[in-house]
Structure formats: structure tokens, C-alpha cells
């Protein structure tokens, strides 16, 4: 029995700045920097390759600036890649557009938008990036549904209240803008919005960072339950090994834009191979 990954990412690279041929050879963990000393460009991520399997939660962990969010933003087509490829294997996805065997980064921006709107969901670390703070929470969700070609107002309203219920936002507050909500509630509205189009892939960037411990717990429980109910494939970015341990079975460890280690999460925690992972794990416990 062969399990086919839903997402295959190859040699993903993002350089901020003009870049030069020496960038890859002067940045990374060995050089303890992601800034190229020859041209001053920032190599946010380089040569990042991995697979995401159907129904799995994959973690990405690493210190601030290691390139975690860059990877997620690139996958969501928020930013242009410098180089790299991404392939999807899913019959549902191939139905609407023929993207089988095609490098998604090379598609037209219209096609990228189509893929993003129909199959991806994202929750940003900063709720201001994911939500319009002055539009009602229901309206935020409806906007996303419209992008995914929903048209009936009544159906969108039903869907929004269903999602808010699922993410434990009192439905009677649906007409309030997220600005009125606490940080934990805003993250839950973001999750509701991200789920609205029934994505196959959900990208979560530091969803619980900065929240109170008890609020964190509720958001984490919500993610765990959602993954179980809907067979989503999720990428969870966090600098917190506690979150990674609770949610993921496999983990990528990043430093200075490079993957230093990929492994089973329990192996990463109990038998870390890379010196950096060893420091990360030992400083957590």
C-alpha cells in the first residue's frame, strides 16, 4: 500500500533582496545567519523540501526568523517564490482545474487564486492580516465564501453560523466586528473563516501565540477536534514545542531558513539528531 502525499514541496526558496549567486553559500545554520554578506539579501528560506500526507498534522518549529511563516505564506501564494516547486495529488483538486503534475507556483495568478480559494485555508499569527476588523464576523466569512463562488445570502448566513458555532463563537455575536472580540475569539473567527470553503489543506501560523494559557488550551482543543472531524491536512507553525507535541505526529525543524531536521515528533523530542534541535529541546524542558 503506497500513500500518496497530498502536497509535495520541492526546493522552496525565498530571497528578500536582489540575491546573488553566493546567497545559498553564505547563509544557513553553518553561517549562523540568513543575511548574505555579499549582497545583503535575506534568504528567508532556501531549499525547503517536504511532503504533506492526507489527514496529517505536520509541525514546523524553529526560533524567530527561521523561515517558518515564509514557508506557509509561499504555500498560500501570498508571496512569490524565488524558486521551487509545489505539486498536489488530489482528485478533488484536479476536478476543477487540471493541475495534476503541474508546478503550482508556475500557474497563472488567476489559477493560483482559484486553488487557494477552493482548497486552502490559512490562519495568520496576526488576526489583522486574516480579518477585516470593521466588517462583521459573519461578513468576514461571507467574503471568503463569495471568493469560493457562493452566491445565496441565506446559505452563506447558515454556513457562517454553523462555523461560528463549531469554533465556539456565540452565534448571536455574528453581526459584531472582530474588533470587539478578545484575541482568542479573533483567532477562532479566523479559523471559522479559514474552514468556510471546506479546504483540504489548512495552514496555521502561530495560532495560539500571545494568548493566555487557558485561551490557548481552548484553541488547541478546537484544532484537535476539527482535525478529527473533518479529515484535514494541516501544517502547524509554532515556536512552542508544547503546541507541536500536542498537535503533530511529524515535525520539521528550521533554522536560518533551512530545514535542519525532519522526523516523527516523538523522535524529534526524545532523540533529536541535529545540534540545534538538541538545544531547542533541552531548553524547553
Amino acid at each position: 500500500m503506497v500513500i500518496v502525499p497530498i502536497l509535495h514541496v520541492k526546493n522552496l526558496t525565498k530571497i528578500f533582496g536582489d540575491g546573488c549567486p553566493l546567497c545559498p553559500h553564505s547563509t544557513g545554520p553553518e553561517y549562523e545567519t540568513n543575511v548574505c554578506k555579499h549582497c545583503g539579501s535575506v534568504v528567508a528560506c532556501s531549499d525547503v523540501s517536504f511532503e504533506l500526507y492526507p489527514g496529517e498534522i505536520l509541525g514546523i518549529v524553529g526560533e524567530s526568523g527561521s523561515g517558518k511563516s515564509t514557508v506557509v505564506n509561499l504555500l498560500h501564494f501570498d508571496w512569490e517564490v524565488t524558486s521551487g516547486e509545489m505539486f498536489v495529488q488530489n482528485t478533488k483538486m484536479n476536478g476543477s482545474i487540471n493541475i495534476n503534475e503541474k508546478n503550482l507556483f508556475a500557474l497563472s495568478s488567476y489559477q493560483k487564486r482559484q486553488i487557494r480559494n477552493s482548497f486552502m485555508g490559512i490562519v495568520y499569527q496576526n488576526p489583522y492580516l486574516g480579518l477585516r476588523m470593521d466588517v462583521s464576523s459573519g461578513g468576514n466569512i461571507a467574503e471568503r465564501l463569495i471568493m469560493a463562488n457562493w452566491r445565496s445570502i441565506a446559505m452563506m448566513r447558515d454556513r457562517a453560523s454553523e462555523l461560528l458555532e463549531k469554533t465556539e463563537i456565540p452565534v448571536k455575536r455574528m453581526d459584531e466586528p472582530p474588533r470587539n472580540f478578545s484575541g482568542g475569539m479573533q483567532q477562532r473567527v479566523q479559523i471559522a473563516k479559514a474552514l468556510s470553503n471546506n479546504p483540504l489543506i489548512l495552514l496555521l501560523d502561530e495560532v495560539t501565540t500571545g494568548l493566555d494559557v487557558s485561551v490557548q488550551a481552548r484553541v488547541l482543543d478546537l484544532i484537535r477536534n476539527l482535525q478529527r472531524e473533518i479529515n484535514l491536512s494541516i501544517i502547524v507553525v509554532s515556536h512552542d514545542l508544547g503546541v507541536i507535541r500536542l498537535l503533530t505526529k511529524r515535525t520539521i525543524v528550521m533554522k536560518y531558513g533551512r530545514i535542519v531536521e525532519i522526523g516523527l515528533t516523538d523522535q524529534i523530542l526524545e532523540d533529536p539528531q541535529h545540534p540545534y534541535t538538541q538545544i531547542l529541546v533541552s531548553s524547553q524542558l
Binding site: 500513500i3 488550551a217 516523527l264 532523540d271
Partner: protein
């Protein structure tokens, strides 16, 4: 399913697990590349329906062996051949991580001395969860079976809906065992599962394990108590410190 494993020793005797020259070395970079030997030159086989005990002095590497089989530790050398249902014959020391996840999901279980508490999940749900996720049971069915098992393990009914974080060590351990055995894994790795249990609970656990073995679960286990080990194990593999230095 045809078993293609090459180690058939005549009528009905089939080797399902074969460990060849397994070794594990920990390279601790943060301690100036300090090298610690976990286990060395471990070889044994386990046949269908067998319980293999591992014994040896403290620090000899018993837990290390189990963790290598489960792949919580990455083996440094040697092979761990397992005749799986999912992927047929595989070397657990070498297969891809997602295949290990598949095997853990469907056929390989591990139970240690401590409950890895899942925060904010009740005892009965912790035990019912594997049936839901792995065996495709309905929620009602899973809960009923979980309740029955907890009852058999003498967990008072009033604790079913409580969070195990507040349970006594022995109660937690019984929840832990229940969660590990309820889904009837094909290969079960046990690291001192009864260490924090009293005599009566230990006897119940032993009985449950024997039932599982008779239903065909392959087991490799470490027990803190030699008497228990003799009682449970069909064969015993001895690790000693001497071989390490």
C-alpha cells in the same frame, strides 16, 4: 494476506519480528559531541503468538530497544524486520516516517510506565479514542467498550468522566494500559506497564495481556519484576551491561 516473511521454521511457526544487530548510539552535540551507548548488538526473533521478555540490569538498554522498534529513537545500526499487514515486510529501522505513522495507527502499540496525559480529555474518552480513530467504531460502541475495560481494571465509575491528570499514579497507569490495549494492536511493546500497580491490578493486567496474546497479539515487554516476567514471557532475551563496554 499471504505472509512472505522468509523465516518460516516449519509447520505454523512464523517469525513476525526479527531484529539483527541493532545498535543505538546517542550523539549529544550540546555536550561536546559526547557519545552514549544505548544498546549494542541486539538480535532476537519473535514468533507469531509469542511474548518475548527483555531483561537486564538498569541502564543496559532495555527501553532503548523498545523505543528503537517504535522508532521514537532512530536506530544507529542494524535492522528491525517486521512482517506488517499494511506494507508486508518492512525494516522499521529504515522506512519513511509516514509509514511508521501508518503502522502505529493500525498495528503497533506502545505502552510505557506513564500516562501521556491528553489535557482536558476524560478518562473514558482517552480509552475510547483509539477505537474511534483506528477501528472505526461508532461513538456509542467505543464508549461502551471503554467503560467495560475500565471497569475490568477496577477504575471506579465516578472517575470515568474526570480528567486523569488528577488521578493517582496507579489509576493513571490503568487508563494508560486500557488505551494501549483496547484497539488490539498486532504488535504491542510494553515498558514496565505494571510498575506502579498493586498486586490485584497487576493480576488483572496480566490476565488481559494473556487474553490478547491468545488472540494473536505479538508482545515484547520489560517488567520490573522477574517473577512477572517469568510468568508472562514465552522466552526471555537478556541484555547485559558487560556487552556494552
Amino acid at each position: 494476506m499471504i505472509i512472505k516473511f522468509p523465516f518460516i521454521k516449519g509447520e505454523g511457526v512464523v517469525t513476525l519480528l526479527k531484529i539483527d544487530n541493532l545498535s543505538k548510539i546517542f550523539n549529544i552535540h550540546i555536550l561536546g559531541d559526547k557519545v552514549i551507548e544505548g544498546c549494542d548488538d541486539v538480535s532476537f526473533i519473535v514468533e507469531r503468538g509469542e511474548f518475548l521478555g527483555i531483561s537486564g540490569p538498569s541502564g543496559a538498554g532495555k527501553s532503548t530497544i523498545l523505543k528503537c522498534i517504535y522508532r521514537t529513537y532512530l536506530p544507529s545500526g542494524g535492522d528491525i524486520w517486521y512482517d506488517s499487514v499494511l506494507y508486508e515486510q518492512v525494516n522499521l529501522a529504515a522506512i519513511a516516517d509516514h509509514m511508521v505513522i501508518g503502522l502505529r495507527h493500525k498495528e503497533i502499540g506502545y505502552v510505557s510506565q506513564f500516562l501521556k496525559v491528553i489535557p482536558r480529555v476524560s478518562a473514558i474518552d482517552i480509552v475510547a479514542e483509539p477505537l474511534l480513530l483506528k477501528n472505526g467504531a461508532s461513538p456509542g460502541e467505543a464508549k461502551t467498550k471503554a467503560g467495560e475495560l475500565l471497569e475490568r481494571l477496577n477504575i471506579p465509575q465516578k472517575l470515568f468522566d474526570a480528567y486523569p491528570a488528577t488521578f493517582s499514579g496507579g489509576e493513571q497507569q490503568r487508563v494508560n494500559i486500557a488505551r494501549a490495549i483496547i484497539w488490539k494492536p498486532r504488535l504491542l511493546l510494553l515498558d514496565e506497564p505494571t510498575a506502579s500497580l498493586d498486586k490485584d491490578s497487576t493480576a488483572i493486567v496480566m490476565e488481559l495481556l494473556k487474553e490478547m496474546r491468545s488472540e494473536g497479539t505479538l508482545m515484547v515487554g520489560i517488567f520490573h519484576d522477574n517473577e512477572l516476567m517469568e510468568l508472562m514471557a514465552d522466552r526471555i532475551y537478556r541484555v547485559n551491561l558487560g556487552a556494552k563496554s
